[in-house]
């Protein structure tokens, strides 16, 4: 019956990881998949998570019953509060609500389905470049047009702010605009506070709808409040908006799929109808979200002592990444690798858009067994004190021996 089904093209980041795993070169380096690694190159289960799992396992009062359709309420409310800050007017006025979702992707999908089916939005914009999965999430959710706004200036290796503003100015009214709350994926380049103010002005003026994607709160700078500045600014301006939150990176709970969809309205009277409509969407998709990860995050976020422990873990991760950024930049500048390398420390979060072109990327993979995405994105977490010299050396090698578009 399905003989005509064609094989789909492999998804780049997974294909890259597969190639890395199959490579037998002893000094191979994986700068592909976006997960945190310790300085020993190992995954890290946060101590507060291990502690919680032991606690949950020993708790005889817990069971495996279904969660409500919209999720574990202690998690949803704490996540919304973590995002907006306890001073948020919308929170205080009951105009903000949270819905547990299947990590960041699941929150994006539920939000997108709501905006398409109920909000009747049909056009969505994301940055060029953006996370590889954004377009399909929104198109499969019911949007009919996926467009880009300029973002990365390859020549300057910085934000193309004028391009961004021009493209948003030309976006039709009612368009949904995906904004990376912090630690832009894949570039690592975030707008400044002043630029965010101008973006907010424009979105308001052009009657566009802001959809924040917050996958790295706390993980970017090490400070939860600092990383939420943009979202809170929009909130303080009285915007209606949604924000997809992921706890994959900042809690290291990648495979438990813990996320939250924060919904901010102008009027509290719309909250219940919106929740009831989202209930119908969730029911038709997966009925109710998974329990285990929700209990971990929900318990920690509602316990001041555990929250402090967790914050120290985030700072550990963020600090290590920042030190790798410093280390890589220093080495490239010392080697006098052609081009400028300040963007590596100007950028923030897990990823860096190195500015390396496709030929250089191919060489890094084929000749040096250093795995990174075609667009030149590297995962800083893949760097450690054990491989940073090798990586710097190889980048220097490919840059000096490759002729391609401007670096």
């Amino acid at each position: 019956k399905f003989a005509s089904v064609e094989s789909a093209p492999p998804i780049e980041v997974f294909a890259l990881n597969k190639a890395y795993v199959e490579d037998t070169f002893p000094q191979k380096v994986n700068l592909g998949v976006g997960a945190y690694r310790t300085d020993e190159g190992k995954p890290w289960v946060l101590p507060v998570v291990r502690h919680m799992e032991q606690k949950l396992a020993a708790d005889e009062t817990l069971n495996k019953e279904y969660l409500p359709v919209l999720g574990y309420e202690p998690l949803a409310s704490a996540a919304t509060r973590m995002l907006l800050g306890s001073d948020s007017a919308s929170l205080k006025e009951g105009r903000a609500t949270g819905i547990q979702c299947l990590s960041g992707t699941g929150a994006l999908r539920v939000g997108a389905e709501f905006l398409a089916h109920i909000g009747k939005h049909s056009i969505v914009y994301s940055s060029n470049p953006t996370w590889g999965n954004h377009s399909l999430v929104f198109l499969n959710a019911g949007f009919t047009s996926y467009r880009s706004y300029r973002y990365w200036d390859a020549a300057k290796k910085a934000l193309d702010f004028d391009g961004l503003m021009e493209d948003l100015r030309n976006a039709p009214e009612n368009s949904v605009i995906i904004l990376h709350a912090c630690a832009h994926n894949p570039t690592g380049v975030d707008p400044t506070q002043d630029q965010w103010r101008q973006i907010a002005d424009l979105i308001e003026e052009r009657r566009l709808f802001p959809f924040f994607d917050s996958a790295y709160q706390g993980f970017a700078s090490g400070d939860l409040d600092r990383d939420a500045w943009a979202v809170r600014y929009f909130d303080s301006r009285g915007f209606e908006m949604v924000c997809a939150q992921s706890f994959a990176k900042n809690f290291g709970l990648y495979n438990e799929r813990v996320g939250n969809l924060t919904f901010v309205a102008k009027d509290r009277s719309v909250i219940e109808p919106v929740r009831s409509q989202i209930t119908l969407l969730v029911r038709a998709n997966y009925s109710n979200p998974p329990n285990h990860g929700a209990r971990i995050v929900g318990t920690v976020l509602n316990d001041p002592v555990l929250t402090e422990q967790w914050k120290s873990h985030i700072k550990t991760m963020a600090d290590r990444i920042i030190s790798m950024r410093l280390g890589l930049r220093e080495r490239l500048e010392k080697l006098e690798t052609p081009g400028t390398w300040n963007h590596i420390t100007d950028q923030i979060g897990m990823f860096s858009f190195t500015g390396l072109g496709p030929l250089a990327v191919d060489k890094l993979i084929a000749d040096h067994h250093i795995y990174l995405l075609k667009g030149g994105r590297i995962n800083m977490c893949g760097l450690n004190t054990g491989n940073i010299d090798y990586v710097a050396k190889c980048i220097h090698e490919v840059v000096t021996t490759t002729q391609e578009a401007s670096l």
Partner: protein, 430 residues
């Protein structure tokens, strides 16, 4: 703005109130969401809410479909507890799962359905992916069929069917049609009606079948009736999509419950299959399940897998592991597996004995009605045959909560309340 000019505003306090009222009006007017209507209330949740509010000490909740032990409490299977202890020892990481779930989980799951040594898995003919329990697996399956099924895009469902089948299929882009299934006159299977309707389904359409423990009726075809249906479905070139949410939980025997699925494969059908561990492993909230397509070649299965991943990634990227790890541990560890088979038989046996007790107590009450269907039906649910007015009376007068269609969750009955239930049912039906 004309509203403001027509107001006479004198004192600061009235100004404040007026401004607040105006800002409420204008905030609703400026809202993107003021047009959003309240969705219809969930009928089953509504039953639970009403049950919670009731102060009658004898109240019974026969609404929601989750297993309860003889004390009316949620039941964590011993095999699950043991599996969790084993998993904890392994100190596993939290790295992303593959999009399709762990290969071990998928293999163990399809082999549970088809038999450990089945020829389809051995020959690599299955495309199996982890799904978010049964619902999520159905969702992946319907999305795939909507995109790739080469025939008609209507999914034919039995009447009645699980309440969520219809909105789920429609949401995936499929049309929904019906075939006769439940006979209210007999509270049993409308075999001839089903065959007649199935024979009328246009060729190359999709047909949804409950593998065992039909939800909501508890009415399953007998093996020889399944054989007839298989024949007609094959003749009519229909594509069978099995929903198996109760393997092991229905009869207590995993092979017996999976027999229709295995029969259809032996008869040469290519099938789709959704499986859930919510009930048979009590893993409800951990959302462990799988969707499978049995293909005609390894190449087809590989191509299908790649397309399934493309469907899953924009939904939620990759699945949650905790429930799947427990299921895998149980199925692949021989002593845990045999513990689990005992646990699931225990649950099925308790339900079967509650059915027997309810029926015998109704006879003891002096009911002259035929209650054979209570023990003829199988699984979590029983379609009692009570009418909506009778149901209402049962709830109002006796604080027994169930859905309007007369469906009771047998799991909610215990040895301590079965007599009360029989008495109540007799009162409203005599």
């Amino acid at each position: 703005m004309s509203l403001i000019s027509s107001l006479k505003i004198f004192s600061p306090s009235s100004l404040n109130t007026t401004q607040n009222a105006l800002s409420v009006v204008s905030s609703r007017a400026n809202s993107w969401w003021s047009h959003v209507e309240m969705g219809p209330p969930d009928p089953i949740l509504g039953v639970t809410e009403a049950f919670k509010r009731d102060t009658n000490p004898k109240k019974m909740n026969l609404g929601v479909g989750a297993y309860r032990d003889d004390n009316g409490k949620p039941f964590i299977l011993p095999a699950v507890k043991m599996a969790e202890a084993e998993i904890a020892k392994k100190n596993m990481d939290k790295e992303y799962s593959p999009i399709s779930g762990s290969p071990e989980f998928c293999k163990a799951t399809i082999n549970l359905a088809l038999g450990e040594d089945n020829e389809w898995t051995k020959n690599g003919l299955n495309a199996t992916v982890q799904g978010i329990s049964g619902t999520g697996s159905l969702r992946i399956g319907t999305a795939f069929l909507s995109a790739f099924f080469p025939g008609g895009k209507d999914l034919y469902m039995p009447t009645p069917t699980w309440g969520n089948h219809v909105p789920l299929a429609k949401h995936a882009g499929l049309g929904v049609k019906q075939y006769r299934y439940y006979d209210p006159k007999t509270c049993g299977f409308d075999f001839h009606g089903a065959l007649q309707d199935i024979a009328k389904i246009p060729e190359r359409s999709m047909i949804l079948l409950h593998a065992c423990a039909h939800n909501p009726t508890g009415v399953d075809p007998k093996p020889e009736q399944w054989a007839e249906m298989s024949k007609v479905i094959k003749e009519k070139k229909l594509f069978p999509f099995f929903d198996m949410a109760y393997q092991g939980f229905a009869s207590g025997d995993i092979d017996k419950d999976a027999a229709p699925v295995r029969m259809f494969l032996k008869d040469g059908h290519q099938i789709a299959l959704s499986q859930s561990y919510a009930k048979n492993m009590g893993l409800y909230g951990e959302r462990a399940g799988a969707f499978s397509l049995i293909c005609s070649s390894k190449e087809e299965a590989a191509a299908t897998m790649s397309q399934l991943k493309i469907i899953i990634r924009p939904m939620y990227s990759n699945p949650p592991v905790t429930g799947a790890r427990i299921a895998t541990e149980i199925l692949t560890n021989p002593s845990l597996r045999s513990q689990w088979l005992k646990d699931v038989k225990g649950m099925a046996d308790r339900i079967i004995s509650m059915r027997q007790l309810l029926r015998s107590n109704l006879a003891k009450e002096g009911s002259s009605r035929d209650w054979a269907h209570i023990t003829d039906q199988i699984g979590m649910f029983c379609f009692t045959g009570m009418t909506p007015p009778q149901v209402e009376k049962l709830t109002k007068d006796f604080s027994v909560y169930l859905t309007k269609d007369g469906r009771i969750s047998v799991a909610g009955i215990t040895s301590k309340n079965v007599e009360y239930l029989a008495h109540a049912i007799h009162q409203v039906t005599k």
